[in-house]
Amino acid sequence: MKSIESEIKDLIKKLFSEKKIEVFIGYENGTLPLRTTPYFVSPNDDLDKLAWNRFCSNNLAVYLPRVVAKKKGGNSCKVGILCKGCDSRSVVGLIKEKQLSRNDVFIIGIVCPGIIDTKKILSEIKSSDIEHIDEDDENIMVKFKDGKKNFRKKDHLYECCINCEFTTPFVYDTLIGDGKSSSNTITSSQKVAEFSAKSRQERWQIFEQELTKCIRCYACRNACPNCYCKECFAEQTKPKWFSVTNDLSDIIFYHIGRIFHQAGRCVDCGACVRACPMDVDLRLFTRMLVDEVKERFGYDPGLNFEEAPPLTTFASDDKQEFITEPS
């Protein structure tokens, strides 16, 4: 990975020196084991801290609208950003929805080998006192207080990475990596498949059970690049759609509203699931939506600028069996 990291650094340096960007959003190593954290690079920062590794999980596109907006009013300025496949799809979505223009952003696309689910690894280690982490092509080697353990990368990917069809960004200014990736075996998500095979009642029960954990901190919403509304329906007072309590009915209202607002927009980056401090498996529901949109409209969001989002257009061959005559 080191060489990719230095390739990224060289490119950022060049972009700054050519004044093509004013700020770059990438990753640095975090303060917690097996974690990175977003890193806002300004022109004079030395790039020593910049990191690219299998723990670069955050979808950085979420920052673009506010960083770009801040720069507005001044001369045209570009934000540089490091984008994995899913992140680049988010950027495309934001551009399509006019939250920024293509000229605002310089995308360093990176072929994503699949991101490792920190929680999966930590759940297999009893101690939280991690002393050292190493890796080779196949494995992450973790040395902790009372021992050490190897973890096969392949078996510890985020759920959304396991089935990822779009590890290579479609839209970018420069692409880093060789276009092939290790995790790219397309199988339908087992968890989601199991869930969708269940009866309606069972699915509702699981839905309720998952959401019982929710504390309405809105981390899922705020981590999502698609959730850029200035005022979310969840907090609106004029009109007030539902209450601010943590009653299950209010929580469900919030999630149904948010999830359905993602139809034809969700790129399955998993940001909402990773952000959730209570481990609500939101992807069970969002991925169902992704599959549904794909099946009905043959649409994958964020792959190009031309194709119109399915919920904004009408095609004569759209499936419409859900439209029923009032009885």
Partner: protein, 345 residues
């Protein structure tokens, strides 16, 4: 008995269930047990439900005294008749068993705001009066713990009525307050502590303290933070997503919202957790917002804890429990924020 041993006693592990069940006869006990929402305070019906090998609760103990959603009053929306919320007053008082010293210290900060500051908040104060806090000293702090940096410690007593330390095959029990002494009176399972017990405790505590790895130093922080327009505010907030995780998980954050609810012709006025990280928190009806961006909101959170609380209460409203660090979706680490502020020119 030596004076310094006066408030200590010993409970052998084999007597623990007996001790606990005696208390269960007289009190409602809330203690750590597993749930869907992670390890948290739950009502304990038998000593077997207790889980004492936890590191810390996922959610802090504040939710017991300051629930995420609490009814302040009920009313009939058609007649406008207001009732104080109906409260099933239980004859038994409560024991909060096994919270960490950091959570107990945080409660003492809640006391400053809700109980000691006029006017008293009746809902909080009532619950606080009817409960006794039995805390459990930390033997093995987490890597995210930094209590020692903010004036708390693995064996802090403030906020607790009784503090327990797990020694080898027995518990050392110390009554910190009159309330604590009262509860332990006449318990036959307790035997006097010896100087050896204290020595063992001191050794365990010294070892636990050495496990606290944070070296943030907050003494110089207040002064740095007096500069409201300091340039570091331009950058420390950058990656913040503006969600409520840090404030909801924080054992000292106490901001709330008040709203009215009407359902099936019964109304209630509720208070719910709110967060200074939310844009609507300070939004005026006119559209003006004194804290319009992430920068101002992040500054408010840091200043409230590390500056305003010192002005108003001579305390730092942070106990170093590390929950905001563990749960932040972008690993925005408050220790690092403090460090960056201290290092800023």
């Amino acid at each position: 008995m030596k004076k310094e041993l006066e408030n200590y006693s010993i409970l052998n592990k084999e007597d623990f269930n007996k001790f606990f069940n005696t208390l269960l006869g007289k009190y409602n006990i809330f203690g750590p047990s597993k749930s869907d929402k992670g390890d948290k305070l739950n009502k304990i019906n038998s000593a077997d439900d207790l889980m004492l090998d936890y590191k810390n609760f996922k959610m802090s103990a504040k939710e017991f005294f300051f629930p995420q959603c609490e009814t302040l009053l009920a009313f009939d929306p058609s007649t406008g008749i207001v009732k104080n919320r109906s409260e099933d007053v239980d004859a038994k008082n409560d024991i909060i068993f096994g919270i960490r010293p950091c959570d107990a210290l945080a409660l003492s900060f809640f006391d400053r705001v809700f109980k000691d500051g006029a006017p008293q908040d009746p809902y909080y104060t009532e619950k606080r009066h009817r409960s006794t806090i039995i805390s459990l000293a930390c033997l093995e702090p987490e890597p995210t713990c930094f209590c020692n940096a903010v004036g708390c410690d693995v064996d802090s007593e403030t906020g607790a009525d009784i503090i327990l330390t797990q020694l080898n095959s027995r518990y050392l029990i110390k009554s910190v307050t009159e309330k604590g002494i009262e509860i332990l009176k006449h318990l036959k399972t307790l035997i006097p502590a010896t100087e050896d017990d204290i020595k063992e405790k001191d050794e365990l505590m010294a070892k636990a303290k050495s496990g606290l790895k944070s070296n943030v130093e907050v003494k110089a922080l207040k002064k740095k933070l007096d500069d409201f327009d300091a340039s570091f505010w331009q950058t420390v907030h950058q990656k913040c997503l503006g969600c409520g995780v840090c404030t909801y998980f924080c054992p000292t954050c106490h901001c709330f919202d008040m709203t009215d609810e009407v359902c099936n012709n019964t109304g209630r006025r509720i208070r719910t957790w709110d967060s200074c990280m939310f844009p609507l928190f300070t939004l005026h009806a006119s559209g003006h917002n004194p804290r319009p961006s992430y920068k101002e909101r992040m500054r408010q959170r840091i200043l409230h804890k590390f500056n305003y609380a010192q002005e108003n209460y001579n305390e730092i409203f942070c106990v170093g429990c590390g929950r905001c660090i563990i749960n932040c979706p972008v690993n925005l680490d408050i220790r690092k924020v403090i460090q960056e502020i201290l290092e800023a020119k």
